[in-house]
Amino acid sequence: MKKRMIILFKILISTVILFNLTGCWNANELNTLPIVVGIGIDKAPSDEEVQVVAQIIKPQELQGSLGSSDGGGEAYWNLTSTGETIFDAIREMTHESSGRLYTAHNQIIVIGNKIASEGVQKYLDFFMRAHETRPNTLIVISSNTSTEILDTKPELTRIPAESITRLSEAQEIQSHSKKVTFQDFTNYLMSKTTSPVAPLITSLKDKETSTLKIEGMAIFKGDQMVGQLDESESRGLLWVTGDIKTGALVVPYKNEVVTLEIINAKRKITPKIQGDNIYIHVEIKEEGKIVEQTSKENLATLQDFEELKKVQNEAIKSEILSALNKAQELNTDIFGFGEEIHKKYKEEWKEISSNWDKIFPSIEVEIEIQSSIDSTGKISHPAVPQSLE
């Protein structure tokens, strides 16, 4: 009898627990969750406050994207809100949205031009602390406001934030810009000497179409944007930082032009301190191939290849030099030369780091380029009548 009572009691307890402790403490159901895929930060019109745009996806609109050409309305909703701080503004959004914004799937943070020139660190602090932010979130700088970027309706995808993400990931194809993640940017901000860079994005709008374009990179001094690199200068930077994946290199050759594709590139930076002088030796090894030529002459000869290599070296060198000039002009160590010196000369570093702003503009950089051309594509000669000599 006693045994049976105990069993009954246990069943009772289990039933009570079963109905009371059914779910998670803060369960979020997917259908009620406003999923944020992009965040933009701007100065509010009043200039005192900060304005945050959250791009929220509308899943029901996304479903129509495969079948019908027009799935009704837009698949996203840009929710704007202002506040004294980022977190304040994001929480203010609950006045308009039906639930707490879920930012764990945020793919991109777009920083408006004004914020960038003012200094970004204080605006990114919240994202570094928030447990939902992923370190792989991308950072782009808008040439105007971030609202404008997130409002540009893309052609290939239905959500602007997704198209910006793909766009910045596609930059490695031409190597005129590179993607910068939240993680990279944090490391930049924590460096004493390295100046942060981030891709610069513009919205090109006319009456009918609107597209987004990444053109070059924004340069920061500390956390303030001070200038920008155009496309070839950006590639000059990427040569030195070792971020070149592939790209087209158009070089003049014998009054015509030859297009070379970058296949592989490596770099090595060696700082040298001799007495009071600091040298940076940049060594670049590149492999390319001929993908296009305008002349009718056959370039697949040993002699032409030797010449082309030299021209190729010059082209790479001029890209690097243009980036270097820009960086020295703005006194921004975007290449991370300071850190390279730090890694090699820890004793001298204390003095150098405090004077880095004086040293960097006049630092001597030796550029050594060893490039090679390894193939000519599917054809060796251009398609012109061949003479049988």
Partner: protein, 368 residues
């Protein structure tokens, strides 16, 4: 009288030690704010420094076969002084138990389920530990194989997945740290994850064979230290300077993993590893606290103590520090000094006295 139930073998001891040390991996990140990219060097130095101490613990256990720390204290220091030292040790064990419970709560609230109140995790976890401890030492020792295997699997797996992100130049320049900071960070590593294995003086008496205790104790210690070293190397090489401001660099590192667009967000795997290693650690500490109190009070079994001690430990875990800042501050500045006598002074002195006085003496088959 023997209050300890069950016997463990040498390899179980080894995995128990390694698992115990891995349980601390989340709690030593504040060391990075002192040692920066030289953390790995601090870990390596602390490892070398701690080897003699670990050998001293196992030598003590081997010399007094089957006697636990409380009994050893009685034999060496006499029943009065021995009791005082034992009480101090019990307070130390108990504090470790509470602080580790608190650490678990902090980790869950900070990273896994941020809006759930901390007591929920601490109480549920303590209940599971109480259940385990109620079954004695053997079950813990048996599952420690599994926890260490899982931890090693996660550590190597994440390292391989992060291979493309690894940048070993993050460690340059080597040894940039001022010597004072270096000593401080070595001390932290030695005191918090490494020489805490001193608590195994309460576990080792349950060994079924004392022949190779030195070897297995050292192997377990080396395995645990190696895992901590690999974790530190992985975090610094992947995250670079930003790992130094992170409250939990290991978790942040794993968040970077992204293979394609689908193999991502696997940090929960790490959270599971941290949880199960902490589970072993807290169970061991729980068991040790109970066993030492029971031994001191000469109880027949420690089982009556499970609920009261667990309850007090939970309460202390709630009220221990008012913020993570004060917790880290005190761990960095007070806790490491507080542990010096327990880890670095009393065990070697005990061993020395035992050698000089040729203890333990034998009376028939009993050690006295």
């Amino acid at each position: 009288m023997n209050i300890k139930e069950g016997k463990i073998n040498n390899s179980q001891l080894m995995f128990l030690v390694a698992s115990f040390m891995l349980g601390t991996s989340t709690f030593i990140h504040f060391m990075d704010t002192i040692a920066f990219h030289d953390s790995w060097l601090a870990i390596l130095t602390a490892f070398v420094i701690c080897i003699p101490f670990v050998l001293c613990y196992s030598a003590l256990a081997k010399r007094f076969q089957g006697k636990d720390l409380i009994q050893i204290n009685d034999i060496i220091y006499g029943s009065f002084l021995g009791k005082i030292i034992s009480i101090l040790y019990i307070v130390y064990f108990f504090l470790l138990l509470s602080l580790n419970l608190k650490g678990l709560g902090d980790f869950y609230v900070g990273y896994v389920m941020p809006e759930t109140p901390k007591p929920v995790f601490i109480i549920i976890f303590a209940l599971v530990c109480a259940y385990t401890v109620g079954h004695g030492l053997e079950p813990m020792a048996r599952i420690s194989h599994l926890t260490v295997t899982y931890a090693i699997f996660v550590i190597t797996g994440t390292f391989l997945l992060l291979y493309s992100e690894v940048d070993f130049t993050n460690f340059l320049p080597i040894f940039e740290l001022p010597i004072k900071d270096f000593i401080q960070s070595v001390h932290i590593v030695a005191a918090i994850p490494f020489c805490e294995v001193m608590v195994f003086l309460m576990v080792m008496p349950s060994l079924n064979n004392f022949g190779e205790v030195n070897k297995y104790m050292l192997l377990g210690f080396a395995l645990g230290a190696l895992c901590l070293l690999v974790i530190s190397v992985r975090d610094t090489s992947v995250l670079g300077t930003s790992s130094f401001i992170s409250n939990n660099a290991a978790y942040q590192t794993v968040r970077i993993i992204e293979i394609g667009e689908f193999f991502t967000r696997i940090e929960i795997v790490v959270a599971m590893g941290i949880t199960i290693c902490l589970f072993i650690k807290i169970c061991v500490l729980y068991y040790i606290t109970l066993a030492s109190i029971a031994q001191l009070l000469k109880l027949k079994s420690y089982k009556t103590l499970i609920i009261p001690i667990g309850g007090i430990a939970i309460i202390i875990a709630f009220i221990a520090y008012d913020s993570i800042v004060s917790h880290n501050y005190s761990a960095k500045n007070y806790h490491v000094f507080y542990t010096i006598p327990y880890q670095f002074i009393i065990p070697p002195v005990s061993l020395l006295i035992a050698k000089l006085r040729r203890l333990p003496k034998r009376k028939g088959r009993e050690l006295i």
